[in-house]
């Protein structure tokens, strides 16, 4: 038997617990009934149901920390995964200027230099920020953060495949200049059909689409937003990752160079990807709307459908109208770094969600999640304000950012 008691660590720990006042000994029976605060748990799991590059045997170890965190936190610049990527490979999109023109260096389009670049990052916000006397902090709240390691077994050798940091629940304002994103940023855009009509039609007789849109009037249109390639004049322009299918399962974006990618790398634009349509669930014109509102070349029937990520200065993580205690927190958000392809368990709670498929590099998951009020999105826009973006929530007193 090992002489555990004589281990120096034991001695050190024992020294730390030396009595300092009149403590009384407790019996072995009493001692047996004592348990420590269970704010740390460790869960292990395995997965081998993947296909393609996610096939194989994976093991995971997740360390859960039972912590409630409230904070107002800022970071000048967050840069993760700064390594070489080639535009067009593995879903890497070209870097663009603010107007969507691709940046060309030595005759070729280049990508951003890191998978995640967020400047003036902030969690939480300052209310009344221009009033130094009455300014106050509205905290970003995190419940039960965790850190998880992924291992891949290859040839009997176990190696670290990735690490992710996430939260069981999170709620509050997340701000930043989103320069380069790799991963998922899910949003929802909606508004009346009249917006599309007014922006593109002088009269109902301009075209068949204008005629139909004039009839649609106040019909509420809804679509979802993802990262897209916003580089004008390139093969991938306006496309998102993966196939877009209609209700019959027919692929609507067969020419997309990102058809077989699970997500875009180093994207700086978001919008309604080419091939995706608006829907009008529950409305009388439900079956006509998709045909009228297919996204193509970053437009939906003439209305802009792609926006620079820097337009979205602040997004609300979770449900703003429901408290964290009442289930208003977002689930499934995480940031990860992989040395190879890793199928992380999807913790969003959305029905049917199983695995988040990630590849080598960094990954930020700001995806839709399930709450008491149904599926929620971190980015919510209306058709009118989408082009203007969402303004920055202040993270300093006296200025919006940069403190």
């Amino acid at each position: 038997m090992k002489n555990v008691l004589r281990h120096p660590l034991t001695i050190a720990l024992a020294a730390l617990s030396l009595p300092v006042c009149s403590l009384e000994a407790i019996s072995d029976r009493e001692m047996a009934g004592v348990s420590g605060q269970a704010f740390i748990t460790i869960d292990a799991s395995s997965y081998s149901g993947g296909s393609g590059e996610w096939a194989g045997d994976y093991e995971f170890t997740k360390v859960n920390l039972g912590l409630d965190i409230e904070t107002l936190l800022t970071v000048d610049e967050l840069k993760v995964g700064e390594f070489e990527r080639t535009v067009g490979e593995n879903g890497t999109v070209p870097k663009t200027d603010e107007n969507g023109n691709p940046i060309i260096e030595n005759g070729v389009a280049v990508a951003h230099d890191a998978d995640l670049i967020i400047q003036n990052f902030g969690l939480g916000r300052v209310t009344n920020y221009q009033d130094a006397v009455n300014a106050d902090i509205e905290e970003f709240r995190i419940r039960d953060p965790y850190i998880e390691l992924a291992y891949k077994i290859e040839g009997g050798v176990r190696k670290i495949a990735g690490v992710r940091i996430g939260f069981s629940e999170a709620r509050g304002w997340l701000s930043g200049d989103l320069i380069s994103l790799t991963g998922n940023l899910n949003g929802r855009i909606e508004g009346p059909a009249s917006i599309v009509y007014e922006q593109n039609c002088d009269s109902a007789f301009d075209s068949f689409q204008c005629f139909e849109l004039s009839i649609a009037g106040e019909t509420q249109l809804v679509s979802t937003i993802d990262l897209v390639d916003g580089a004008l004049g390139t093969a991938g322009y306006s496309y998102g990752a993966g196939p877009e299918t209609n209700e019959d399962g027919e692929v609507q974006n067969p020419d997309s160079p990102y058809l077989n990618e699970s997500y875009l790398k180093r994207a700086s634009w978001a919008g309604v990807p080419a091939g995706r349509s608006f829907a009008a669930p529950g409305e009388a014109l439900e079956f006509i709307i998709p045909a009228l509102t297919g996204s193509e070349n970053c437009e939906v029937t003439g209305t802009p459908a792609c926006f620079p990520l820097t337009n979205f200065q602040s997004v609300y993580i979770g449900n703003e109208s429901v408290s964290l205690e009442d289930g208003g927190g977002a689930t499934g958000a995480f940031i990860s770094l992989q040395t190879t392809s890793v199928p992380w368990k999807d913790l969003s709670g959305v029905e049917g969600a199983d695995r988040v498929l990630t590849q080598r590099g960094a990954f930020l998951n700001l995806a839709k999640f399930e709450s008491d009020n149904g599926v929620q999105y971190p980015l919510n826009l209306d058709l009118f304000s989408a082009t203007n973006g969402t303004p920055r929530e202040a993270t300093c007193v006296g200025r919006l950012k940069g403190c």
Binding site: Y47, T61, D68, E84, A135, I137, E139, Y151, R158, T339
Partner: protein, 581 residues
């Protein structure tokens, strides 16, 4: 018998930190004015190696409540170059000239900087308070200072001194690291120049124009949008009520007279109603009642449309006021561009400057200081400077866990984690403790931490030692390497934002970086005074940094995940409370 603590040589040098020998008694008056000069110490030629002994860690469970057996199977602390603890290399913890220190000092808050007792390090803690400080070794030389050397290593991109990273042509005043950070600064400077070139007027008048325009043009339009939004919301709410009334009326009509051809949401004509010519009075009454409800609904549709049109118009007006360059006439470009440019300029150049021509204490200045430190290190290396050795620290653990597969089936497995840190330094680290009353006037321990941790190489292996122990190639290929990991963690800022550790009434621990607390010299009802207080905090309270120059596994072409950095992190407020999972 096992060796538990293998101290080849333990020389504990206790150094009277600033006093010499020949101690003499102090009288009471001398004693009352004395501040503790502290105790300096160093441990030379130190080795800790647990060799084959083990420690069992208990009390950790899975979410399902199952106990997890954890064995701590290895721990060593040695000098740099120990080859993961296999070669017993003595390490140094401090030295005679750079000892670790424990001391008690008075705060310097309220003292004039010319006062002999003044020390800038304690300027944020009042002179009426005594604080206890534990500090590691510290160095004024940029080469020996791990903060500057760690930053240099991040920009250099490799572990200096290792094969392939020891070429003197890569260092010097224009070395790789210097060029890299210069390029970073150049991007920031270009942005600043671009903003400055956009405006013919100075920064201060531009800000005044923005404020004036906001008050005179934006606020009324925002108010208008809010009012129109309210009108629209009310119109929608009324529409929904009338829609329900119309549906109820139609349901009544439709259920009692199912022969009709009418549609809800449309007027029901005589012909479509199909009411019997004789004895159809109740049918016609029901149809009429529906038509009345439809009429009211239809009327409200028009009202909603009007409100909607007005809302859109108001939003367009607001949007135009923000984005139309012809409406904001004070300067080039639109109002929103001016706001964004001023914000960006303040980020780059700080808040104290009033003109675009000067750049104060902003990001550019901070990066400039970082560049100076990087250049000092690069030059010192070029000139043959040598850096002292650090410590090698390693630990190994074994976890026996119940692993759950995708089908929910549980099976036992053993996880292994082997951590080896090569070249670890903590110089410039300090912990300061003092007692002060909290908001309720109860004395409690306040603290401030400055942690500098630099590790040249951190290796983490999870391979089963029975597999990889005999196959170093397989182990190397499966080991995660973090190069030049540097953590500069600054928690707490004197009495303005102390760090507290306490317990809640239900027994959980609580760690807090308090909200900012203006001192008695700040008039909390005065805007200028409060803004100056916040600006002072933003400018002077140290930020935190985390950087890694390379993350990689193995050595293949796709092995590297490159650099990672968290630059300029600051918690203006943080409260962490534990809770049972």
């Amino acid at each position: 018998m096992m060796k538990l603590l293998n101290l080849m040589t333990l020389a504990l040098c206790v150094i009277s930190y600033s006093a010499n020998a020949d101690l003499q008694a102090l009288d009471d008056s001398e004693l009352s004015s004395a501040t503790g000069e502290g105790l300096g110490f160093a441990i030379e030629d130190f080795i800790l190696d647990t060799e084959t002994s083990e420690l069992a860690v208990t009390g950790i469970r899975s979410s399902a409540g199952d106990d997890i057996d954890i064995k701590w199977t290895k721990l060593y602390v040695m000098g740099e170059g120990s080859q993961s603890g296999t070669i017993k290399t003595p390490g140094q913890i401090g030295s005679y000239n750079h000892p670790y220190v424990i001391r008690s000092v008075r705060g310097s808050g309220g003292l004039d900087p010319s006062d002999p007792s003044y020390d800038a390090r304690y300027a944020n803690i009042g002179n009426d308070l005594a604080l206890l400080e534990f500090a590691t070794d510290s160095y004024s030389s940029s080469l020996q200072n791990s903060e500057t050397f760690g930053t240099f290593s991040y920009y250099q991109g490799c572990i200096w001194g290792e094969p392939g990273c020891d070429n003197l042509s890569d260092v010097g005043s224009n070395g790789v690291a210097v060029q890299d950070i210069e390029a970073e600064i150049q991007v920031l400077t270009d942005t600043r120049d671009q903003i400055a070139a956009t405006y013919a007027i100075h920064l201060a008048p531009l800000e005044s124009s923005i404020e004036l325009y906001y008050t005179s043009d934006i606020v009324p339009l925002e108010t208008k949008v809010q009012a129109e939004q309210q009108d629209y919301d009310q119109a929608v709410a009324e529409l929904l009520v009338r829609q329900d009334d119309m549906s109820d009326a139609f349901d009544f009509f439709d259920q009692n007279f199912p022969d009709n051809d009418c549609q809800v949401g449309q007027e029901c004509s005589n012909a479509d109603a199909n009411c019997p010519l004789f004895g159809g009075a109740s049918c016609r009454d029901a149809r009429d009642a529906y038509n009345v409800e439809f009429g009211e609904y239809d009327e409200q549709v028009g009202v909603r449309q009007d409100e909607y049109n007005q809302l859109i118009l108001a939003r367009k007006d607001l949007d135009g006021a923000k984005t139309d360059p012809n409406k904001f006439t004070a300067a080039n470009g639109s109002y929103i561009e001016a706001v964004e440019n001023v914000e960006e300029f303040r980020v780059l150049c700080g808040v104290e400057t009033n003109e675009f021509a000067t750049c104060g204490e902003g990001l550019i200045a901070r990066k400039g200081r970082t560049r100076d430190g990087v250049r000092d290190v690069s030059l010192a290396l070029f000139n043959g400077g040598q850096r002292r050795g650090g410590l090698d620290i390693g630990a190994s653990f074994e976890f026996v866990v119940d692993a759950v597969d995708a089908n929910g089936t549980s099976s036992q497995r053993t996880d292994y984690i082997d951590i080896n840190m090569k070249g670890l330094f903590v110089d410039g680290t300090s912990l300061r403790l003092w007692s002060a009353p909290d908001e309720e006037g109860v004395d409690e321990i306040n603290a401030e931490i400055r942690l500098n941790l630099f590790i040249k190489e951190l290796d983490i292996s999870v391979c089963d030692p029975f597999v990889c122990g005999a196959d170093p190639v397989a182990k190397e290929a499966s080991t995660l390497n973090l190069d030049n990991l540097f953590i500069s963690l600054n928690l707490g800022y004197g009495e303005t934002q102390p760090m507290r550790l306490s317990a809640t009434s239900d027994g959980n621990f609580q760690f807090e970086l308090t909200k900012l607390r203006p001192g008695p010299d700040v008039d909390q009802n005065d805007q200028n005074s409060m803004q100056a207080f916040y600006d002072g905090y933003y400018e002077n309270s140290p930020k935190s940094f985390i950087s890694i120059s390379d993350v990689r596994i193995g050595s293949g072409p796709d092995a590297s995940l490159g650099r990672t950095t968290v630059d300029g992190l600051r918690a203006q407020y943080l409260k962490v409370t534990s809770r049972d999972l």
